[in-house]
Symmetry: C2
Subunit: 254 residues, 2 copies
Amino acid sequence: MTTAETLTASLEDYLEAIFHIIAEKRAARPKDIARRLKVSNPSVTGALRLLAKKKLVNYAPYDLVTLTGKGEEAARDVIRRHEVLRDFFVKVLAVEQDVADKAACKMEHSIPGVILERFIQFAEFVEVCPRGGSKWIAGFGYHCDYDSAMENCEKCIAQALEEVKKKKRQGGKKKMPVTKLKDIPPGGKCKVNRVAAGKASSRIIEMGVVPGALIEVEKIAPLGDPIDIKVKGYHLSLRKEEADGIDVTPLNAR
Amino acid sequence: MTTAETLTASLEDYLEAIFHIIAEKRAARPKDIARRLKVSNPSVTGALRLLAKKKLVNYAPYDLVTLTGKGEEAARDVIRRHEVLRDFFVKVLAVEQDVADKAACKMEHSIPGVILERFIQFAEFVEVCPRGGSKWIAGFGYHCDYDSAMENCEKCIAQALEEVKKKKRQGGKKKMPVTKLKDIPPGGKCKVNRVAAGKASSRIIEMGVVPGALIEVEKIAPLGDPIDIKVKGYHLSLRKEEADGIDVTPLNAR
DNA sequence: ACAAAAAGTTAGTCATACCTAAAATACATC
DNA sequence: GATGTATTTTAGGTATGACTAACTTTTTGT
C-alpha cells in the first residue's frame, strides 16, 4: 500500500527477474539477469542504473545487485500480480501451467488493482461455494450439450446438493472444534475465524489476515516457527506467536 | 485469422480510436483522434504515418483518415479483445461498467489468444450451465459465510435442482420446435443446431457459427435483412439468406 | 474574396529500451 | 604475480512515442 510510483513494464520485468535470481542464489549478477530476460548485457546495465536512480536496487558498477526494501516491495507486488493471474488461468480457466505462466507474464503489467482483487475473490468463491466447487470447475471444458445432456446437469446438481446435506449432518455432529492455524497441514486451506489482538502485527492485518479470509498454508518449518501462508495472493511468513493467535476453520474436505 | 503482424499497444489504440470515430462520423480527422486519445496533434501525424506505412490506414497529408481492409480487420480484432475482457469483468466478475471498460482498455493489448478464448468459453459456460447460471453469479459478492450460511447454500442448490427438473418436464412436453435464427428477438440468445451448407459463407463458419455455438442476436433490421449477431466476441452482420439456413435452440428462459 | 481561425504538418527534443562493438575490470589459474 | 578469460561497462546507434514551437494548409465568417 506504500508504493505508488509508476514503473514501466520493462523495469517491472527486471525487478521480478532480480527477485527470483536472488531467491535462487545469494545475489544477482547482471549476466544472470540478461540471460533470464533474454536481453543483451548493456541493456541490463542501463536498466540497473534506472532502478538505482529510483532507489529500488543497490547497484554499484562491477558489483552484485540486491534489492532495496522499496525494491523488494515492488518486486513482490509484480510477482503477486503474476501469480494471481497464473493461478486464475490454471484453476478457473483450466489453462495449462506453462501457457498460463507466459500469459501472466504478459498481462501482469497492465492489470488494474480492482480487477486483480476480483480475480482473487472469484477464485476463492468458486473454491468455497458448494454450488461452484472443484467438481463444477472440472465440468467446464466439456460444456454439456444443452438439451441432450440435461440429465448430466441434473445429476451434477443433485450430487452437489447431496454433498452439502451430508456435510451439514457431519457438521452438526462434530460441533466443529476450535482449530489453530498451526494445525492445518501444508497445502491445506482454511478460513480465519478470529485473530487475537496484540499478537498479530499490523503487517498481517494489512495483508488481509482478518476474520473470513481464506488462507492457504504453504510450508511449516520443523519447529513450527516460520509458517508460510498465502492470503489474497500475498505470501506471508508468520512467527509462532502470531500463528497461535489465529483461529481457523479447516476447508480441506471439499 | 489472417492478421499476424505485431502492432504496438500504441498503434492498436490509434486503430481502435479511428474505427470508433469512423463509426460515429463519416471519416476521422486527426483532431478527433488526438482528442479521443488525449495526445497532441503531432503525435497523431506520426502515428498515422506509421499506420500508413503498414497499409492499415489510407492517409495523405491534410486529408481525412479511413481504414484499409487490413486496418479494419486489425481494429475489429482489438475491439473484440476489448469487449470480451469488458464483458467478462462485468458479467462474471461483477465489476462496474466504466471500471471494467478502463481495465479492458489497458489489458486488451497484452492478452494472448488462448486466454481470450477461455474468457469467452467460461462466460458462456456460466451462462449455460444450470449449476453455475446467472443466479449463481449473482451470489458471488456476498461469499456466504462458510458454516453459518450453510443453509443458504443448501437452499441455493436445491432451487437450482428444482429448476433443472422443471425445465426437463417442460422440454419433454414441448418437444422443442425447430427455431430459425430470425425468430430470436434482439437481445435473445440461442445455440446453433445446424448451419445449412452452401447458404453460409465461409466467413460465417470461420467466425464460429457452427453447431453448438452460442449466438447473441443484437439487432434485426426492419425487413429482417441484416441481422446483427455476436458469436465468440465477433460481431457479424448476416444476410437474410444466410440467417435462414441457421437452426437454433432459444436460450432465453434461464 | 479575403482575412482570421482552426487544423495539420514539420522540425527539433527528450526518455525508454533495445542493440553492437569496443574498452575496462574482475577472476581464476598456472 | 602475470596472464587469459569472462564479465561488465562505455560509447554510439536505432526505433517508438510522446512533447513544444513554429510553419503551412484548409476552412470559415464577414
